[in-house]
Subunit: 111 residues, 2 copies
């Protein structure tokens, strides 16, 4: 029966969510599959939800996070931009730093 401290972080723009853990997970799945449809399926998420999440990230970010293409042999696809990849890296870094910081804080508080 030990107390554990948890946290979630997210980045906002104009009071609206730009990027959180769920969106980062989705972007990672897009990077792996090259397809929004497959990424959504791999996370057991509806395509519509996945699309609206990616759309929100893409329109709010300072630069596009994904490139999409429609049609062609493979039907099209979605790929991360370089900016999208750095965004993910920075987010993951912030998140891990936050976790270790909070663990230290809790340990020092003697709850």
């Amino acid at each position: 029966m030990e107390y554990k401290i948890k946290s979630r972080i997210w980045i906002e723009v104009d009071g609206e969510i730009l990027l959180g853990e769920g969106r980062v997970q989705l972007l990672k799945a897009i990077a792996e599959t090259g397809s929004l449809t497959k990424a959504a399926a791999s996370l057991s998420m509806s395509y519509k939800k996945a699309w609206s999440l990616v759309d929100a990230v893409n329109t709010r970010a300072k630069k596009p996070v994904v490139n999409t293409s429609i049609g062609g042999t493979k039907g099209g696809g979605t790929e991360l931009t370089e900016y999208g990849r750095t965004l993910i890296k920075i987010f993951d870094n912030l998140n891990e730093n936050c976790w270790t910081f909070l663990d230290e804080q809790l340990a020092n508080s003697e709850l």
Copy 2:
């Protein structure tokens, strides 16, 4: 169009939530009103939800967080224990430290 980092922290026991921002807010309202009914109303929360939140906190914490009484002239009431008050203080402290830490982290990441 500036990026801002936000966070929520909470404390878990055995994988279940013990205390988060909402529960702390509720405990503070109880401290002010001396009544779970009034505390719930002051937060526009249903009594049932308020009760189940307080009950969860009370049963999972290492020591009781509130004392309740039923009946009597005033009908009864709910008051914080000393342990409940220190729990709130520590939580608020952790939370503020987390915010300033993350702000620093974001500033250093040059997003």
